[in-house]
Symmetry: C2
Subunit: 297 residues, 2 copies
């Protein structure tokens, strides 16, 4: 089975489980129905499900079944989707298109988009703490604690705040690395660490997965920025990235594309090296970082 | 000690603990500092802290110390404050003043207000799941589960969605009762149920507290609506509530003020009756519902 097939297979499992988790909602009245519908619009029908894939694959290293790993994987995806909905809002990045469709505040309205994001974030913690999904309260409580820290004011939310202020005030290389570690890295780290928690991994194994996740997150972001820069350069017929011009905080704008590509290769090697303790069992995770680094749009 | 003195005493404890919980944040950069500052603006320096008070008082029925009850009480207050920040946003209720100060999106900006609300909601789950605040993972996981359900798409967030759609589309008496139970009742219920969870209450005691909380929530909302109607009538020099005119979903607009006051008395009696199993120990909670029903602005 190729990596692409495997990613698609797990993606479909995640999609199905998310659809189940989001099916029970909706009140008979118009307001309730539209909240649930907006949450489904935001969470279903798009995305590669890379974060849930990392969680399921990390958990599998320790023999955790997909059935047991799927609920936390879906909780993580709810947080990712909430962050996209709120980041797209007019007062944030003001984006009109997401995954090829109108963004949620355009498809519904702004109030519904804010509420649906809030509700997806809250649902993530409901899923993680639901005794039907894990019999061990210590596992449930630890996953909640890790996800709240990853998503919150010292994690993803801080990253978004830094990003907004960087766009207004300019930025330095060290700031960009920090904000990307927070804004996108924190959820990748949660994905891999949650796998270790579910699998009752040894401390050394957990640290190895964290090191992998941190390199993965940086590689993912850098590949994203390179794709953006390449797309912009192609569109403009020249080798200057749009992002550099409008002050968006990317490493390409600061390092230049050649140094950025060299850094990307180094990060992939770093991620692979971190997986050495797991040997052949970690092949899927090795392929995942190679995939993340070489994505085409 | 009078009830007012006791409410003020616990309110100060909550304020102090919240200030500690919100002190550790803020990054050296401007974006991070302003996120943490906005969270403090939203959570500190205002409010009677009635929800935390109910939690601390319910827990005390079972001998739980204030020290142990304060972190969950602060988590609850974080959720309450996040809901106020997001409800005040221009696309929601578009309010300019909250607790006598400019609302958060006016004091900072809209993006920061959305992010600070998100971060306060997330922080609530971090506090509840933090092993430093409770040694028992089963208690931590159960509190998270209860708060996520109370705040989420079948609870407070649904209530807000129903409220927005009621203002647009008109409403019936049964809808108003439902939306108020969700929008304001859910957090009062969590307050009392959390006290029971912390105190390892018997099922019958927990149910008694839930019955109390549900009557409390309705009485609180009705008293609020009566105050609004009274203030409007005084301002306008006539006995017609503004809210009835602009389609805001209140019971006063539907029942009329006399029937509403009779209903309020009945709810206070219902709440007191629910506390009968606790006898004299529940005197503070009895006084709390009387206080909530007879508030002056």
């Amino acid at each position: 089975m190729t990596f692409a097939t495997e990613l698609e297979r797990v993606g479909k499992l995640v999609e199905g489980r998310l659809a189940e988790l989001l099916a029970s909602g909706g009140s008979p009245s118009a307001g309730g129905a539209s909240l649930a519908e907006a949450m489904r619009y935001a969470a279903l029908g798009g995305g590669k499900r890379l974060r849930p894939f990392l969680l399921v694959s990390s958990a599998r290293l320790f023999g955790v079944s997909e059935e047991d790993a799927l609920p936390p994987a879906c909780a993580l995806e709810c947080v990712h989707c909430y962050s996209l909905v709120h980041d797209d809002l007019p007062s944030m990045d003001d984006d009109a298109v997401r995954r090829g469709r109108p963004t949620l505040h355009l498809a519904f309205d702004e109030a519904t988009a804010i509420l649906a994001g809030d509700a997806l974030l809250t649902l993530a913690f409901e899923i993680l703490s639901d005794p039907r999904h894990s019999q061990d309260p210590a596992v449930r409580a630890e996953l909640v604690f890790l996800l709240a820290k990853a998503a919150g004011w010292h994690g993803m939310a801080l990253g978004q705040a830094l990003d907004l202020s960087a766009e207004r005030q300019g930025f330095a290389l060290s700031d960009v690395a920090t904000l990307q570690a927070l804004k996108t890295g924190a959820l990748f780290r949660f994905a891999c660490e949650a796998g270790a928690v579910l699998g009752r991994a040894k401390a050394s194994e957990r640290l190895a997965l964290i090191a992998y996740a941190e390199a993965f997150g940086q590689a993912f972001q850098l590949a994203d920025d390179l794709l953006d820069a390449q797309g912009d350069a192609e569109a403009a017929g020249k080798a200057v990235a749009k992002d550099a011009g409008r002050g968006k905080a990317t490493l390409i704008a600061l390092l230049g594309p050649d140094a950025a590509r060299a850094r990307l290769d180094a990060l992939v090697q770093e991620a692979e090296a971190a997986l050495a303790p797991f040997g052949e069992r970690a092949m899927t995770l090795v392929e995942a970082v190679r995939f993340a680094a070489s994505r085409k749009r």
